[in-house]
Every structure is written in structure tokens, then in C-alpha cells.
């Protein structure tokens, strides 16, 4: 991690990525707090490492903390350190990650998972530039740049009272939103080429290549796990490919069938909940659309594909037409 080659992860010719890289370069030499927002796998940590490398703090440590992965009751001692006897099991005093990062950068990932009690303490660190280890009498001055990241919508977390508003504003001095890969598909071919080169180092005598048709499938897939999912897949295919040609049939079923399946996206159960009846109805509508598409509008054949009687399909279509206001929801 952290080599210049990894910059490709966050680089890209898409205008949004160029903007992100330009902002990151400009913000690196300042000590401003940065808040990185974006879905999981979009490369937020690599961007944080890039900002660190481009800053005067580069010779000093870059410490990454996943606030969501450390049990909440241990997080405070882990981040701020503790004195001997501060709690059961604290047989020695121990430096926290902020102290270990002194002179450098601390990357607080999944900041939205931090409990309110600790949020107050983090706010003080940002304001006063000092920490108080658990059980300590005195505070310790620290010189650390904070880069935080979240895949949650922190503004909504603030509205719901789960995240402190004052900390939110303190963190988002420089907010940078990293888009999901499906919103910058034009970068996919370059990313694929880069990951091929990287992982082909494991098979120098017969480097693997992606066929043009397979590339189209990779381009069209929605990549819910973003760049990380893309890299993992390329790595796996490079290792598994026997003759070095990665063609469509070598792709996993979900990627291979995506071009036809994307007509029937998987429903998402959000925190706000969904209307099940409506979701089931939409699912039904999409399958009907797909069946009609495949049978070029032949209702008899479409009904057979769906295991329905023609009359049942016609009744469903009539109902659907009344609801959607457009003939069968499709444009011919």
C-alpha cells in the first residue's frame, strides 16, 4: 500500500477524479482537517495516504484507525492512550494512536460509528490540539493532522442526533466526496489495465489479458464494492486464468449477466424501510418488461416465459398501464 502505483486507484481521467486530485494536492501542504465521503471501496484511505505523502508530514507516521472495527469501550484508550491502572487490565501505561501519529497524520475511518461520548473528546482534540489519555491528570500537546472518512451521510446523522453538529462542522473544513465507480465508468478501462499490470507481476511469463467483450461487461457492471471490488476480481482472474485470456465466460455470473440483469435491479432495504407491496409490484413489472423485450412484444410467448396464462399477463399489463401512465412502462 502507499506506492505511487496505487494512485491510479484514486486517479482517473473522469473530470470529477481530476478535480479531487487537484484539491488533494492543494490541500496537502496545509494542515486543514479533511473529511472524505464516499461509498465503501472508493479509495478514501488511499486518498488520505496521498494527501499525507504530498504534505510536509510525509517523513512522519500515517496512522489509520477504523473507528467501526474497534469495540466502542476500547476505542478511547486505543486512540488517546491510557495510564497504568486506568481500568481493569491496564497494567502499564500505553501511548494512544494520536501520540504515535505525532508530527504525522491520523486517518479516522468510519467516523460516523464513533459514539457521542468520544465525539466530544475528539472535538476537544481538534480545537485544543491536546489529548488526555484515559486516567491521566494532565493533557498532552500533540501535532497531528486529522483526516476523517465516512460512508454514511453525516449531515443526516447530525439531523437524527447521532452525530454532533459542532464536530461535523469542525471535521468538514475541507469536504471531499469520492464518487462511486458506476458514476465514472469511463475510468474503468484504465483501472482494469492498471490492475492487470500490477497482478501480472505474479505471472511474468504469460501475462493475462482481458478480451474486448469482457471489457464491455466490466464497464457495464455497477460495482457495488467499487474500485476495491474491481481490483479483487482482476487479481482473482489473473491468478485463475490458465491460458492468460480473460474472456466473458471467465467472468463471475453476476458480472456476466449484468447487462441483461440490470433491468431488474436488486431492491435495497434502506434505514427508512421500503413498501414491500410496491417493491414486489415493481419487481413483477420489470420481469414482465424483460419477458416482453425478449419476445419482442409477443404476449403469448412472454406469458409462457413467465409461467402465466396469456389472459393473466394481459390483465397485469392493463393494471400496470393504468398505474405507470405509459404504455407498458417502455419506450419502443
Amino acid at each position: 500500500m502507499g506506492t505511487s502505483a496505487d494512485n491510479v486507484f484514486i486517479r482517473g481521467s473522469h473530470p470529477v477524479m481530476q478535480k479531487i486530485l487537484s484539491i488533494s494536492k492543494r490541500v496537502a501542504p496545509t494542515d486543514s482537517t479533511v473529511l472524505l465521503m464516499g461509498e465503501s471501496g472508493t479509495g478514501k484511505e488511499l486518498l488520505a495516504r496521498f494527501i499525507h505523502r504530498e504534505s510536509r508530514r510525509e517523513p512522519n507516521p500515517f496512522i489509520a484507525v477504523n473507528c467501526g472495527a474497534i469495540p466502542p469501550d476500547l476505542l478511547e484508550a486505543e486512540v488517546f492512550g491510557h495510564e497504568k491502572g486506568a481500568f481493569t487490565g491496564a497494567v502499564n501505561s500505553r501511548m494512544g494512536l494520536f501520540q504515535l501519529a505525532n508530527g504525522g497524520t491520523i486517518f479516522l475511518d468510519e467516523i460516523g460509528e464513533m459514539l457521542p461520548a468520544l465525539q466530544v473528546k475528539l472535538l476537544r482534540v481538534l480545537q485544543e490540539r491536546e489529548i488526555r489519555p484515559v486516567g491521566a491528570e494532565r493533557t498532552v500537546h500533540i501535532d497531528v493532522r486529522v483526516i476523517a472518512a465516512t460512508n454514511r451521510d453525516l449531515a443526516t446523522e447530525v439531523e437524527k442526533g447521532r452525530f454532533r453538529e459542532d464536530l461535523f462542522y469542525r471535521l468538514q473544513v475541507i469536504p471531499i466526496v469520492v464518487p462511486p465507480l458506476r458514476e465514472r465508468r469511463s475510468d474503468i478501462p484504465a483501472l482494469v489495465t492498471h490492475f492487470l499490470e500490477k497482478h501480472n507481476q505474479q505471472r511474468p511469463s504469460q501475462p493475462a489479458q482481458v478480451s474486448p467483450d469482457a471489457m464491455v461487461h466490466l464497464w457495464e457492471y455497477d460495482w457495488p464494492g467499487n474500485v476495491r471490488e474491481l481490483e479483487n476480481l482482476i487479481e482473482r482472474m489473473v491468478i485463475l486464468s490458465e491460458d492468460g485470456v480473460i474472456d466473458v465466460d471467465a467472468l463471475p455470473a453476476n458480472v456476466r449477466s449484468f447487462i441483461s440483469d440490470k433491468k431488474i435491479p436488486r431492491p435495497q432495504l434502506t434505514e427508512e424501510g421500503i413498501n414491500l407491496n410496491q417493491a414486489v409490484e415493481e419487481f413483477e413489472h420489470r420481469l414482465i418488461d424483460e419477458a416482453l423485450r425478449r419476445t419482442k412484444g409477443n404476449k403469448q410467448a412472454a406469458a409462457r416465459l413467465l409461467g402465466l396464462k396469456r389472459t393473466t399477463l394481459v390483465a397485469k399489463l392493463r393494471r400496470k398501464e393504468t398505474q405507470s401512465g405509459a404504455p407498458e412502462g417502455l419506450v419502443y
Binding site: 470529477v16 469536504p175 464518487p179 474486448p212 471489457m215 447487462i259 433491468k263 423485450r293 417502455l330 419506450v331
Partner: protein, 146 residues
């Protein structure tokens, strides 16, 4: 005048498809313009750019891919996301579109929900871009930074 959710240009030689798409999108709150030929679409764009272009592939005189080439060569227009609408969902067209920097493909007949999802996704990327411009303006001058 109420604010639209986004400005869309539809370029398709089939007036019936244009009419249905326009009605569908306007009902959803988008402001639409349309052209029945590629050259006309380019002229409209040069006068008044839009947020998203819905572009049919199979058109007489100048096909969708040729329109894409012209867009790509124009610095002003090259950044507008293009969604290619095509009945020709063959790999060749997709591959060529991919090389020309198309943002999405939609296979005809188009599913309404899918169309809206893909447009929203392109508008979302543009919203991110606007947010980044605001961030860019907020980056302190390193010489004066703390």
C-alpha cells in the same frame, strides 16, 4: 418558473420515441429539448448546453457514435454525459461507445425506472463536481495556513 431536476436533450430520429420520452421525463420534473437528427442536436447543444444527453445510435445522416465523436472533439461539450439509447445492444456498438467516453448504455425498449436511475446517477456525479468546486474555493492558501 419552477426549477427543473435537470436539463435533458433527446436526440432520436423516431418522433414517437421522442414524444414518449419527453412526456415521461417532463412528468418526472426534467426539462427536455429534442432533436430528430444528430447535427440538429449538436446545434442545440452549442446554443444552450444541457446536463444529460439521451442519444439514439441508429439515425440517418449522422449516427449516435458519430455525434459522440463530435462531442468529444468539442472542449465545451465533451464533459456532458451521454447515455446511448440503442436497439443494437451488440458488443461492437458498446465497445465503440465505451472508447468514445459514453457514460451509460440503455437498451431499447427502455425501462422507465432504469432510465430514471441512470439519469439520477449522472446528475449525482455532477452534484459531486459542484460540491468539489465549492471545496476547491475553500482550500486555504498554504502560505497563510496554520
Amino acid at each position: 418558473m419552477t426549477m427543473s431536476k435537470g436539463r435533458i436533450l433527446i436526440v432520436d430520429d423516431d418522433p414517437h420515441a421522442v414524444e414518449i420520452l419527453t412526456r415521461m421525463l417532463e412528468r418526472e420534473g426534467y426539462a427536455c429539448r429534442s432533436a430528430l437528427r444528430g447535427a440538429e442536436g449538436l446545434r442545440i447543444l452549442r446554443e444552450d448546453p444541457v446536463d444529460v444527453i439521451l442519444l439514439d445510435v441508429m439515425m440517418p445522416e449522422m449516427d449516435g457514435l458519430q455525434v459522440c465523436e463530435q462531442l468529444r472533439a468539442d472542449a465545451e461539450l465533451s464533459q456532458i454525459p451521454v447515455m446511448l439509447l440503442t436497439a443494437r445492444d451488440d458488443m461492437d456498438t458498446r465497445s465503440q461507445g465505451m472508447m468514445l467516453g459514453v457514460s451509460e448504455f440503455l437498451t431499447k425498449p427502455i425501462n422507465k425506472r432504469e432510465l430514471f436511475t441512470r439519469i439520477e446517477s449522472q446528475l449525482h456525479a455532477q452534484e459531486i463536481s459542484r460540491q468539489l468546486s465549492r471545496t476547491d474555493a475553500a482550500v486555504p492558501d498554504p502560505a497563510k495556513a496554520d
